[in-house]
């Protein structure tokens, strides 16, 4: 279980997180929605230990992440899989090597076993036969899928997705969502996912949280969010121009 308590973060005078509190239960798929530039990626980076909060605390299964450094922090990260918003693929390596990389570095599997698992993951994201290409030789959507394959290849317990489907065509969005659900059924990982895919996310989320103006304004299962009485949530999920959120 991940517990976030009263997280604050400012960059200079810009206050991005102003008291975020959230609980993510073990094995659930939690989807965070919110406006572009609202601090969702910044929030995820705190969960990854890449950014340190100005105030507030984060626990991952009872250990206080915000107190950890070095080895101890890495021990928590060993259980993570991460899909960065931009993919963050290693551009000096081929697609195959990118996906094989965590297995080569973190496990003692044989080369054949690594190749087999890598090919399997590439097939699952629909990229069979693309292994020899370099990241700059494939499309943006393909890069996203490589990043997903790389994050899941080690079968992590906790997976963070930062907009894994943004920029993909609708068929692929559904394919990726199904893949995530499938793998989730198999491995029961905990997922924290940032996504703008409304309404598709309501099919896969166990719970949805909305981050707005630096705080979580509402958390609930998909029905509760869709039927929310909060005008901010309503305006956001319907994409209306008129309302409490100003389209600036």
């Amino acid at each position: 279980m991940i517990r976030v308590e009263n997280l604050h973060k400012a960059f200079g005078a810009q206050r991005v997180l102003q008291g975020v509190s959230l609980e993510v239960l073990s094995g659930e798929i939690m989807i965070v929605i919110g406006r572009s530039g609202g601090g969702k990626s910044v929030f995820l980076k705190h969960l990854l230990g890449l950014l340190h909060p100005d105030a507030g605390r984060i626990w991952v299964d009872g250990v206080e992440l915000t107190q950890l450094r070095g080895r101890a922090l890495d021990q928590v990260r060993e259980r993570y899989g991460v899909v960065f918003q931009g993919g963050a693929l290693f551009d000096s390596m081929t697609v195959f090597d990118n996906v094989a990389f965590p297995l080569r570095e973190k496990t003692t599997l044989s080369a054949q076993e690594i190749a087999a698992r890598t090919e399997e993951k590439l097939a699952q994201v629909g990229l069979t036969g693309m292994g020899h290409k370099y990241p700059e030789e494939i499309s943006g959507g393909m890069r996203k899928r490589v990043a997903i394959a790389r994050a899941l290849v080690t079968e992590p317990e906790i997976v963070f997705f930062d907009e894994p489907t943004t920029g993909l065509d609708p068929v692929l969005v559904n394919a990726i969502h199904h893949l995530i659900l499938d793998l989730h059924r198999k491995f029961r990982f905990t997922a924290v996912m940032v996504s703008h895919e409304i309404p598709e996310i309501f099919q896969i989320a166990h719970r949805v949280a909305m981050l707005h103006e630096g705080v979580i304004v509402e958390t609930g299962d998909p029905q509760a969010i869709q039927g929310s009485a909060n005008p901010v949530v309503q305006q956001f999920i319907r994409g209306e121009i008129e309302g409490p959120i100003r389209a600036t």
Binding site: G12, A13, K45, L48, G49, L50, D74, Q75, R77, E78, Y80, V82, F84, Q85, G86, A88, L89, F90, D91, F101, P102, E105, K106
Partner: protein
């Protein structure tokens, strides 16, 4: 809150204090960077593959530049020193004059400057791009220390390649001096190399060696650091690259003077 908004002139003491703090902080970070890299160098597992790749990049691929500049430096030295010595009737000392200038000063310094231009700037850009595209963050969250994975191989490769590049520069340069002095201007071959053997001793070679070794650390340290802490976007990377080259070059010359005055 009003940090940076008040004109510096209105609060001279305050802004002076802030600038000093910033300088001290970045100096501290700069030193810490090398300290951390140094500490991780001795923690297994060692990234041998990465190291070989870096040696190839910093060393092997700089060879043509080194040979070219080394040859011409030697030839220029051969010509100029010959013309000077001729006035005193002591052309016989051309060999040691060329060899000593190369081995003690020009070899280490010019080789380091050339490698900075060819490989150092590329290293900064590469690491800077890895930073802004979150590849370094990706390494970090895979629990792979980017210091160990990325930076240590670069600095160790600098330690290994710079002395070798410098030796190459010296040898080619001495040969360039030979071409001009002996083949072109008619000094005897025996004099050129014979006097060299008499006047160049181990202390001179060690001076050059220590210089090149420390330049190897300075260049890779500065270039890796500038890339690692690059600013935002493409502009940040290009600024980091420029700064890396300028700072490396300045430090090479300053450190050369310092070593020149403490080493025998």
């Amino acid at each position: 809150m009003n940090r940076g908004t008040a004109p510096a002139l209105l609060h001279p003491i305050e802004s002076l204090g802030r600038v000093s703090l910033d300088i001290v902080e970045s100096l501290g970070r700069f030193g810490l960077f090398l300290g951390q890299a140094g500490a991780w160098t001795f923690v297994p597992p060692f990234k041998v593959g990465q190291l070989l790749q870096r040696i190839h990049f910093i060393g092997f691929r700089s060879l043509s530049v080194i040979v070219l500049t080394g040859a011409f430096t030697g030839m220029v030295l051969g010509l100029q020193v010959f013309l000077t010595l001729e006035r005193f009737g002591s052309e016989a000392f051309l060999g040691p004059a060329v060899a000593l200038s190369l081995i003690r000063e020009l070899g280490p310094v010019l080789a380091a400057l050339m490698v900075t231009g060819r490989a150092g700037s590329a290293l900064t850009a590469e690491i800077g791009i890895m930073r802004i595209t979150e590849q370094i963050d990706a390494l970090t969250v895979m629990a792979l220390n980017p210091m160990r994975y990325l930076i240590v191989p670069i600095i160790v490769a600098g330690l290994i390649t710079f002395p070798l590049m410098t030796a190459m520069f010296d040898v080619v340069g001495i040969f360039g001096g030979y071409l001009v002095g002996v083949r072109l201007l008619g000094l005897s071959e025996g004099t050129y190399f014979g006097e060299m053997r008499t006047f160049v001793d181990m202390a001179d070679i060690m001076t050059g060696f220590w210089k090149s070794l420390s330049f190897g650390v300075i260049v890779t340290w500065v270039c890796a650091y500038k890339g690692y802490y690059t600013g935002h976007g493409a502009e940040g990377v290009s600024r980091a690259t420029t700064q890396a080259v300028v700072l490396s070059s300045v430090l090479i010359l300053v450190w050369d003077y310092f070593l020149g005055s403490v080493l025998p």
